[in-house]
């Protein structure tokens, strides 16, 4: 009964179907000749149960590319990294050995680990709120009925389109000690040139590079803002609510899923940013140890252990510690916001 419905669904996808897709879904649903039907007359009187099964099969057909990819390209390598983290493997020496938790013990007692972790935490706690507030403020500004609104949106979003390498190249020029515009501005105010790309200023440069891309938060918040029904705003204004009050009590709650998404993805992005490397004097694996101390964040530490030191086992242990920490922090964020975030994913339920 239900098996007859599936082949139809399997056959449909043209270019979108991956080889892997069909492999999984065809498992229990070998197409039979009588499965080819002209659907219309058949499916009008489908019983409810068969619909559910059909949906179930279709779900796995649709999600299988990701499931297979995740298993092969994420779980596999991660398991491999976990295994490496218990060894002294360095990729060259044939005499690597199993050391159990030795790498973990070493990293816990290494002050560099703690310092770099602290810097990554401070960077996340400053860059994420700043870019969300900036992006949301921009979104509210360009959501107002102003002239050339589309132009402003485009121009403000433009920096967010620039890839990290581009942003790194641009900020290196902007904050160059001799030829940078930043020191040009300081000179106008009679302040001596600063070595922006060195300690202790380099951390502000990467913070500014993050803020430069606030258009990303803006464009996603803007899409959310436009989903806020205008009647709600108008009703609130008629009831005498101020603009700020309307924003706080209507806009922010309706935007809260978008904002939570931004917090979480922003946090992850900040932890694994390679901007410190990109604005470093020598942005190569060999030069990673020469990056300014204030920018030597956890990810740079991992990177250095991999590519400058070649300590794959130890670096893998560092990575696993980071991953577990991220899971814990994200879990806390979701738990803490579970009562606050307002989801409206099923429009039908609202009607």
């Amino acid at each position: 009964m239900t098996a007859e419905q599936i082949p139809e669904a399997v056959r449909r996808p043209r270019t979108a179907a991956r080889p892997g897709t069909e492999r999984t879904t065809s498992a229990g649903t070998t197409p039979t000749p009588n499965s080819i039907r002209t659907g219309a007359s058949r499916s009008t009187d489908l019983p409810r149960g068969s619909m559910t099964v059909r949906r179930r099969r279709a779900f796995y057909m649709f999600t299988s590319p990701w499931i297979i990819g995740f298993a092969l390209l994420t779980v596999g390598p991660m398991a491999y990294a976990l295994w490496l983290s218990f060894t002294t493997f360095d990729g060259i020496s044939p005499r690597w050995r199993y050391v159990g938790l030795g790498n973990y013990r070493e990293l816990l007692s290494d002050p560099v680990t703690w310092d770099s972790l602290g810097r990554a935490g401070v960077f996340a706690l400053t860059s994420v709120p700043l870019s969300i507030v900036a992006g949301l403020a921009l979104a509210v500004l360009v959501n107002r009925p102003i002239k050339a609104r589309g132009l402003f949106r485009t121009l403000l979003y433009l920096p967010a389109v620039v890839p990290p390498v581009g942003a790194g190249l641009i900020f290196k020029q902007l904050f160059n000690r001799d030829s940078g515009a930043a020191n040009g501005v300081l000179h106008v105010f009679g302040i001596d040139a600063l070595a922006w790309l060195d300690d202790p200023y380099a951390r502000y440069v990467i913070l500014m590079a993050v803020l430069w891309g606030a258009g990303n938060v803006m464009i996603i918040s803007l899409a959310g803002l436009q989903d806020v029904p205008r009647e709600l705003h108008e009703a609130a204004r008629i009831d005498g609510a101020s603009a700020w009050r309307t924003f706080r009590s209507i806009t922010v709650p309706l935007l809260s899923p978008v904002l939570l998404f931004q917090v979480v993805t922003g946090m992850i992005a900040s932890v694994q940013t390679i901007m410190p490397l990109l604005i470093a004097p020598v942005p190569t694996p060999a030069g990673v140890t020469a990056i300014p101390q204030t920018n030597y964040m956890y990810m740079m530490h991992v990177f250095a252990q991999y590519f400058a030191m070649g300590r794959y086992g130890y670096a893998s242990a560092l990575l696993w510690v980071l991953f577990v920490l991220i899971l814990i922090v994200t879990g806390i964020v979701f738990k803490a916001t579970s009562g606050v975030v307002f989801y409206n994913v099923d429009p039908e339920a609202k009607k």
Binding site: M78, F152, P159, G184
Partner: protein, 295 residues
Amino acid sequence: MTPTTLPPKSSHPTAPTPPAGVRIRVNRLVLYTVLVAITGLMLGPFGWLIVTGLKTTPELAASPVHWLPDRIQWHNFADAFTQIDFLGYARNSLIIALIYATLVTLSSAWVGFGFARLNAPGKKALFGVLLGSMMLPQMITLFPTYLIFAKLGMVDTYWPWVLWGLAGAPYLVFLFRQFFAGMPRELEEAAIVDGCGYAGIFWRIFLPQSWPVLAASFVIAFTWSWGDFIAPMLLLSNDRTTLSVALMTSYVTPGGLPVNNLLAAGSVMYVVPILLIFLVAQRGFVAGMSTTGLK
């Protein structure tokens, strides 16, 4: 603007009393001043990159900083092409980015549809894993993946980007899932009654409706790939590598000092294609945002 965007003024009723009218005018003046100032700040870095690319090397060392070049050095842009094999690297970047962006957009939409509109036991857990994998720093997988790819003989080929593309990207899957979840149920119910399979519903009904998201996803994925530094640096040899890697490591004097004016000129030509793609795609992007769905 296209006629599909929201009418600019009708949304806010004009104030009835003159004092309020004056206040609104002052408010607007402040609003425009703030907007223009912020926009200037955001665009400034682009301008500086271009200006730097048009100076001579001695001028870059001048103190105080010259705001504009004494004599515009257009030839820097030509020299940037010849100092490194710019076009060769750009071609490599382009091939990789096109492969990856096309594949990952289609596969992510496909997977996102499953998570948004279909149900099965284990969906919740799988979705949790999807979100969790978004939180995974990509570098945790990159290095062991590199070792595995090396064993399979895929280093210095573009196969890794094909595989990454086919697997979909959690962030894009999430983006599509959010979009598809907001579409009215009647759309697919009508199609099911008409005897359309789920793949057909996806391909004929949901995908055409989602072209703003498709454009966004393609632009995002293209930018990721074009701007990626670590993966091509690890996986590709010197002459098969991308422009990102070449820009970061080439453009140095024989003594190893950066040639900043040529680097800036090269950077301009590296960033401009990304901006152009965005500008072409965003017409649909912006218009689509106010017209998607059936309302």
